[in-house]
Symmetry: C2
Subunit: 207 residues, 2 copies
DNA sequence: CGCGTAATTGACTGTCCCGTCCAAAACGCT
DNA sequence: AGCGTTTTGGACGGGACAGTCAATTACGCG
């Protein structure tokens, strides 16, 4: 049998993620990752292959994680669907607003930096957003069934719009827009969702 | 008198912009800019000071240019205000959709890469988006005066939401979302704008 | 025509970069 | 205990990196 690994792969990936997240792909040197993880260079290359493969691995896990989290948050019985949607939109705004360091989202940052030249990155971003859009659409359909959202609206198109608003808030946050304003964007978006006639007077409040 | 410059500063800035745009800040070497512009290293440093200052210069011009363009496109008489808004939203979607190379917007890319660590970049991004938001709000107020948009809506909040949708479409485009879907996002957003009672049946068509 | 001024050119410095390589070490199995 | 196998740690190579510098060149004014 061979010599066993001395490091925890998950922990190393987490450190590497932090590094890529804060300094970007091109801005991160393998030496920086070596320093951050404590691994020797041979171990790092032996275990992960190289800078690009390491990034892809980190990016993959990140994408999967947030897509799972969103799908989780939006899944449930029909009678809570609309509230879940509102909560999610508000939480996204609050998350961006709370991000004092303006680190933003690794998905957005990685996509912005690399999607132009790396189809593998693009594919991962697209899939993640696709999964989020699907989760939104499913929740919207549930809200329609329950009578909170206008059943005449196209759930797929509405979900893509909501996704655009979510990603837009992230972009505005990175550009330094203040938190209050971001949260008002969320409220405005929620207020414009097509409600059914009887529901349109009662918008679930956040505070 | 001194020896005159042999290069056109604007042309050099344009080449430098292309370089930063396609390979990002950290991913662009000064040697690459030297190669792209044809200048010698001494000239480049003498004229612009260094990598960071050169980028800031390029970024500044880019931000000013797009903010101007948006303000231009949204300015005019009240009776065309709503159409101008729709045209702008559709054009933004079409622009992203037509961007086969997925280069995206330098404002978005630069902000994503640098705003976290460079307050000067953040300030420039914020000001540019602020100007765009103001142009949108002015146009929305004009559309309200003319009776196309519900005068009860808060123009500032609505304009920030529209801005979020615009930046969101850009983000989705970079993640590889197909053009049709982006254009449907634009239509959905337009369709949800709060119309006045008598206007709400007549949405200006795009095709 | 020479002189001061400023632009040009590209060689150069010292640092950082990615990835490779190898000797030493840590295991389980026999 | 000896073996094969894998990990470890760090030195190393070749190249790229940002920025400097000195010698040269081009201009207009006196």
């Amino acid at each position: 049998m061979a010599r066993p690994r001395e490091f925890d792969e998950e922990a190393v990936l987490e450190r590497a993620r932090e590094q890529f997240w804060t300094t970007g792909y091109a801005g991160t040197s393998m030496d920086a990752i070596v320093a951050a993880t404590g691994l020797g260079k041979g171990s790092l290359y032996g275990a992960f292959g190289g800078k690009r493969q390491l990034f892809l691995r980190v990016f993959d896990a990140y994408c999967a994680r947030i897509a799972d989290a969103v799908a989780d948050g939006l899944t449930g019985p029909d009678d809570g669907a609309f509230v879940r949607l509102c909560v999610h939109i508000r939480a996204a705004a609050a998350g961006v607003a709370a991000d004092e360091l303006r680190r933003g989202c690794l998905l957005a940052k990685g996509t912005a930096e690399l999607s132009e030249h790396d189809p593998d990155v693009t594919a991962r971003s697209r899939r993640a957003l696709e999964r989020i859009a699907t989760a939104l659409a499913d929740d919207i359909r549930a809200a329609q069934r329950h009578g909170d959202l206008d059943p005449a609206a196209d759930a797929d198109e509405l979900s893509t719009l909501v996704l655009a608003v979510l990603r837009g808030m992230e972009a505005l946050g990175k550009a330094g827009m203040d938190g209050d304003r971001l949260e008002r964007v969320a409220e405005t978006a929620i207020g414009l969702l097509p409600r059914t006639g009887q529901a349109s007077r009662a918008v679930p409040a956040s505070r």
